[in-house]
Structures are given as structure tokens and as C-alpha cells.
Amino acid sequence: MTERGLAIVRTAALAAGLMWLAAPDVATQNTPPAAARAPVAPMPTAPAPAWRPPRTPDGHPDLQGYWTSLSFTPLERPERFGTREFLTDQELEQMFSAGVERSYEFTFANSADTPVYDATVYALDAWQNGVRPNRRTSLIVDPPNGRLPALTPQAKAERSWAPRESFDGPERLGLGLRCFGVRQPPIPTGSGYNRNAFIHQSKDHVLVEYEWESATRVIPLDGRPHLSPNIRPWRGDPRGRWEGNTLVVETTNFRPEATPEDGNAGTLRMTERFTRLDENTIEYKYTVDDPSTWTRPWTVILPLARIDGPLFEYACHEGNNGLVNILEGARNEEKGRPESR
């Protein structure tokens, strides 16, 4: 679809959203959350004092349940904050309110009369899905400036060669549009839909499902070696262990098409740490170490907030009407029929 086509859809969606808001019977049931929301406690940044995480019957720290990784906090720190790690109370309130309003707008811009989703029914916006304020100025906590480290000269050169998106066929569209169901680690964040995760533990495995693409990882805890480099699962090859109250997961064997922040699958190693901070929060911390892509490792802290669940099946490929529409639209446009459906 052309930029113009997208703009038309967006305008129509916005108009539909405004009409929806104006309908009085509905408006009383759905008071705009940005105006009416109750204050939400910011997420903790350290374990609650004297709080001991519950244990599973197998004696492991219990990380189980449904969690959301929704966040209004940018991956990289805005430069104005320099090396400052935390927001003031006032900045936090402003940042969170702006995020709620943006996600509220997203809901209504995708409302009933648009061709794709009625987001008001599915509660796709962050506010309705349990997002909580995060005091940090960025998700990246190391390097100290909160930003991705410099690329190596090799990575810089390779990225300048990256092929552009093309609508000639599915090959040069994103893996998400093609519904490859990849969603490699880390747990995806942002304020879009389906940023939820399900954690489940047996005596010797931890399973992590992301609602986005229903991507599921099974992490063995038995100390077995990694797979051969000839086997590269779409979500990498994780190995886990307990260190005190923390689940530590090392992942290698990434596929070249699906690495964190487009690192190099051949050299990238990811270490994730899951630690319960209190009843309703997990500190999810990960470090990406890929010396052929970045001049130093970098680390993110993404707090996870407990939600009620359930997670829904994300059968993306089975209903991938979007890819058909994109390619059909491109073919129609080549024939000079941009409006045809």
C-alpha cells in the first residue's frame, strides 16, 4: 500500500474513533481511561526488603503466571537525560500519562469501522492491559549512557548493504508480516498489542510463551550442552540454571534472520536473568554480547508486571490476510488500479 493509501486509512480510522467516542451510551460504559484512570504504583527497581519469593513444590523460585512486558519506556535513553538513570516523580507522571494517551489513541484509531481490528473490543491498548510506570529513563542500563554501543566497522559496513523492503513477493517483507512466528528473545516490549508472556515451570524445564506470535521457548535446566551449530531454532537454543532466586538463561544458536537487534547469529550470546522483586513484579534483565556487531556488551532491564491472563492463541499464518492484501495491492497498483479491492 502506498503512503497515501495508508494516510487515507488512518484518517478514516480516526474519524470512526471520534464518532465512537461521541456515542453517549457507549461512552458511559467506557469512560476515557486517560481521564479517569486511578494512580498506578510504579514498578520497584530492587527486591522488596525481607520479601522471600514463593517456591514451587520442586523447591525452585516460582516465576509462574501471566506477565506483561508492556512499557512506555524507550529502549535507548533520550540524550537529554545523559547518564541519569531514573526519572523524577513529575517526569514519571508526565511520561506515563503521555504513554496512556498514545495507547488510548491507538485503540480508538483502530476501532470498529476500520477494516482490520476492533481494538476496543479486544482491549489491545496498553492501558487496558496492565502497563505500570517504570522509573527508568531507558530500558538499556548499560552502557551508562543508556544507549546501544557503537557498531563495529564490520557491522556498520554490513548494515549499509541491507536490502530494502520490496512488495515484489513475500521474500523482502518482514518476518512478522510473513507470520514466521519467530519472535526470538528477548521478551518483546513496547506499547503495542500482545506484549504479554506466560511462564510455566516443571521440575527440570521452564517454558516461556510470548502472546505475540504465540512464540514458545522451552528452557532445559539440566546442564546439557548446546545444540550443534548446524541446528538453529528460530528462537535460539536456551539453557537455564538457578542462581539463588534468579533464573539465568543463556541462549546461542540464533538464526541469521532472527537475532536481537540484528546482531550476528554466529557470534551472539544472550544471557537473561529473571528475578522476582515482589508479588507482582519480575525483574527481567538481559545482556547481549556480540563482539562482531557491537564494540561492547549491552544490558537491558525490562520489568514484567503480573496480569490476569489468559494468553490467546496467535494464529498469525492461518489468517494472514494482511500479506495477501499487501501483495494484491502492489499488483493492482502496478496495473494502475490503486483503489481496486
Binding site: 506466560f198 504465540s214 531454532p233 528460530w234
Partner: protein, 303 residues
Amino acid sequence: MRNRLQGIVGLGVAGATMAILSLAVGPLAGQAPARPQVPVPGQFPAYTPPLAADKRPDLNGIWQAFVTANIDIQDHDAQPGPRPEIMGAYGAWPAGQGIVEGGEIPYRPEALAKKKENVANRMKVEIHSDSRRHDTGDPELKCYRAGLPRAVYMPFPFQIVQSQDKIVILHEYANALRIINMTNPSEAPAESWMGWSNGKWDGNSLVIDTSGFVPYTWFDRAGNYHSDALKVTERFTPVSPYHMMYEATIDDAKVFTRPWKVSFPLYRRMERNVQLLDFNCVPFTEDLLYDHLRKERKFPPQE
């Protein structure tokens, strides 16, 4: 100690009494271990499964069916498979004895006609940007989630990850996931390909009721199918350290005149360090599903 006890239990009632005695008094000095029975297909000696930390039978592990029911759940002969002129024996499908108890599937007459139409059109794929994409073609051909019970007898392993209030079954085929609620049974909040599952323990058996299915999955490549009224009741019963018996009762009054049942054993995968790998078949279907939408077709239609 444990192996010997199990051997003794296998001898039957008298053996069980002895086992209780030996439990009570501990190992009997000088007693030779009982000789295991010669295995007979279809029969398993009495078996007591190990328990998980919550004292429920421990079904954790990687399991797989070794039936050919994905080709046809009923008795079928070997077949050449599609495109034998290029696929040769690579593409041929093996014969198999069916998994349907009693052999017959009790279709309503009009539903049997639809089954026959399905098999005639199993490789006819027409992808539209709406649900017409499901009108023809085996969902497996398109790499769609397999639904139930097909996911269990697809020729791929699945892993059971067992906790207390939930049990997860993850399939290597399409990374398809089922979360079984073991407490607070609830109705499906939305339809899905793998259904909405509530489970309970019945003795050593895990019994799972699943409904809330989309009407698009098939039971096999032979076009056996169901509607959105499908309810599947499964029983996973451990019968040895390395086997479970699996049963699924299929109830769909829109398509069948009565409930019917499939059953077969599941085998524990025992390779050292065995783990689920990926069978992400979506990339393998793009040429089939979307070639007609490419600017330049890779596979122009042949006259």
C-alpha cells in the same frame, strides 16, 4: 529395588500380595529378581507411574506417536503420494492400520459427501484475504496448526511440561501450544485452532476436555473433518516408564451420528539430550500459497 518390584507387580494378584509383603519387610535376602514378561503388543503389565512433587503422576517428557494416522485415521494401503514423477519413493506414503475403534467413522450422510469432497480437493489451495482460504486444501499442506487430535499423531514429537494448576503440551509441528487448566475449568473465551482445554486426574490418567475449535482443521490427509461443535475428550494413561496409552473421544453432532474414539500408544523419546526442535513450516509454504501474488512468478502455471 524399584525394577524388581515392578516385575513382581506384573505377575498379577498373587504377585501384588507378595510385593506388599516385600514392601512391609524390605528386600528378601537371596531372592532372585523376577524375570520380566515377554512383551505382547497391546498389553502392558500393571504399572504405577512415578509421581511429581505434587503427588500427581509425572508425565513430563517428550512423546511421540508412531502410527500413520496423519495420512488416514482409517485402514489404508501404501500410496505413491503427490507428484510421483519427481518425488519417486521420497514422496510415497506408507500403509497403516487405522486408529478408529471399530474401524468406522459414523458420518451423517451429507457429512460423508463433504469428507469425499475434501480428499478430492486436498491439494487445491486458493488463498484469499478472508476465510475462503479454508474452503479447500488440507490445512497441513498450508502449515496451519493441526488441531485435535491430529496434533498428537502428526509425525512430530511433543513435550509435556507439567506444573500444578496447569499442564502445557507443546508440539514441534508449528510450535503449537496447548495450556491445560487443571483447576477452575472455564469455557473457551474465543475459538482457536488448538482449542480450549480443561483437565483433571482420574487415577493415573490425565483426562482433558477440549472445545472452542475453529471449524477448519482436519483429522488427516484423507479429508476427515469436523465442525465448530467439536468436543474432544482425551485420556493420557502412563502404562510403562516409556509408554502412555492415548484415547480421544470425538463428539460433534453436526457431523457425526454418535461420539467415536481413536486410540494408540505414545512413546517416550529416549535419545540422550533429546529436545524439541523447530518445524516452522511457514517459510516452506510461501511458494505454494503466494506465488500467484508475486510480481514475477517463480512457478508460472503450466499449460
